[in-house]
Amino acid sequence: MNKILVLFAHPAFHKSFINKSLINGVHDLKKITIHDLYETYPDFFIDIPAEQKLLLEHDVIVWHHPFYWYSAPAILKEWMDLVLQHGFAYGKTGRKLEGKRVMSAVSTGGRKEVYSKTGANQYTINEFLAPFRRSANLCYMEYLPPFVIHGSHLMTNDLLNKHVADYRQILTMIRDNKITPDELEKIEYMNELILQNA
């Protein structure tokens, strides 16, 4: 069983609808640690040793956040800048994170069609996530396909409940090593694993 660390970043959790449901939907899973960055570091003063220790204690890291400006809220970038230190996470002697897996879990307002070469955003989500993928790879970690929720502004309760259940199921599958490398090859989003099974 893998231990999963969800690094959650939402600067206005009280105003969040989608992400609050997602977090509430998975927080009781065994072997999962929810780590709310804005709650822990309201002044962005990130405790580097504590964060590194947390990373070492887990096998899978989830960067869970709304998709702000085609990227993450500021604190996650700060976290990356500070915690993924040279000599710890990357560099010749920095291989402490080697072999761990990383997944982005993001919610966007735009529908999937918008995130395509012909859509208004011109690039796909996976293209936008390139910095995250590169960062993970630089730190000798495997970057999984992302878990993506589209159309968050016009979400119905039913659909949201489905997403929450999917998220829970995906994290459980990752935790329990239920996903084969073959399956990962074929998918763009993690969400597809559930659709396929359904």
Binding site: F45, D47, H86, G87, G91, K92, P131, L138
Partner: protein
Amino acid sequence: MHNQDFFLQALIYLGAAVIAVPLAKKLGLGSVLGYLLAGILIGPFVLGWVGNEANEVMHFAEFGVVLMLFIIGLELEPALLWRMRRSIFGLGGLQVMITAIVISLVALGFGFQINRALAIGLILALSSTAIVLQTLSEKGLMRNIAGKSAFSVLLFQDMAVIPILALLPIIVTLGQPAVLSESSLEKIGNVAQMPGWVQLLIIIGAIVAIVVGGRFLARYIFRLIAGTGLHEVFVALALLLVIGIAIAMEKIGLSPALGTFIAGVVLADSEYRHELETTIDPFKGLLLGLFFISVGASINFSLLIDNPVQIVGFVALLIIIKFVILLVLGRVFKLKKGYEFLFAFLLAQSSEFSFVLISFSKQNQLFDEKTSAMLLLIVTLSMAISPLLLIFNDKAVSPILARWQNKLEYDEVEERENHVILAGFGRFGLVVGRVLLANNFKVTILDNNPENVEVLRKYGFKLYYGDVTRPQMLENAGIKNAQLLILSMAEHENALKVAQYVREKYPEVKILARAKDIFHVFEFFKVDVRNAQREMFDSALELSASALEELGFTRYEAYRTIRTFKHHEEQIQEELYKHWLEDHNQFIRESKRFREQVLETLQAEKNYSIHETDCAWDVDSIKKEKQKNTPETHEPDSIEK
């Protein structure tokens, strides 16, 4: 000029003041009593260092009262004065009238003729501006409702002196036909000889002259003199102004104090206000001190020793009559919760102006030698006792009232659900309260400083006067349903007591506390209050950040440095707490507290090196690695991708 004499006198008066006043203050008696005691000590009946010239000194020193009213005028905006009109004329007018009538009736009862009885009533109805205002400013009561009411009454009395001076000669002729000599009229001033309407015109003209001069002329002159850069000339000008007004007022039969007061009010919004105030203040202080000393020195103890029972009886009677009337009037004018007692005790003596009126009446053959000496003694003694009355109020009456009318003394607090109780609304609590109120939380604010409560209520804060160390007060404030109790009071020991009590009785109420120092934080930890903030720590850190910026740090670097320090301090705190729990007997002794604290903190600091610098965003290790690297490895060169 008798230089020798003058300096000797100065030596005695100043010496007595310098020794007696600090001593009296130390004993909690206030400066007025200190001066009076010093006067008695150097007076003819104890040491005999000053003799009858004390009376002359007193007349000279009365000018201190004039200066004091000028300064009070400077501090008073005209708008505020206008708002006080009801209490000046209503409360003040009634006080003078009723007191004069009652005392006259009592004097009649003692067999005085009607005209003499009336004069005694008018003379004794006044209260001492000097003593009361000095006490008010010393105790910081100027803005208290009782203090303001007392001031209103004194202001009215100052105005009433004019008609009283005019009335006295008429009173002399009352009942007993006697012709007033021209010479005694001269004393009141030349104006008094003129017809009433001319007098009125002159008085109005003088006041208009002060207002117009103060508004338009004074500013120009002050600017001119200040422009010379010679401070002593400015001092001379300030004194000239006050003395000039005083003399002019005396000439037309107005009270000099009243005239300078008006001048002060007129200049209150001038840009030279603070300069004038600081210039005049030391003169005022010295002269008033001198005045109180001379009052003490002029107490006629031989008369007192001859008729002790009679004199003491009269003084007591005078004070009781004045006190009762003031108390009733205070109540009528909505003074409550012990303020009416403070008000009554404040004004229960007779006035320094009574001295003038008594000697004036004596010259008019209204009183014989013995009566006037007796009246003088009674007035003096009532003034001397006055500070003692206030101490009596503070130490005996207030506490009894507090216990006796429990519910009345402390404000009733509406009970509310889901709310915050904020205990202490001073420098610290004010900030906390403003933040919470700005975010629309319901906050019940309690403070045990009545002046504070009163002032802040004026600014629309809903706060209640009360002492949270009394369980009943907390109950009334709704501790039962409170979400949060914030202990922001300055009384650290009390805060701890309250925390302990609430923890035991209402364990579900969350408590946040203001702590004095790190050990105080630990004491809160011990009663399971985990969130206590040291009152000085964060502001000191902020200031350190500014210091670092001044020394060349960038702003973010400075911020990060103090934030790192704070983080480091939090780690130390845990360490220190464990140690403190183990043998905190060692720390208990308050005298060693600070030293122990520094020692312990530094000791613990050794385990957490602060000198290990913040290596966030550091590229040194990358540079080093790169220098060793062979070119073909495609390792990243820096965090900057």
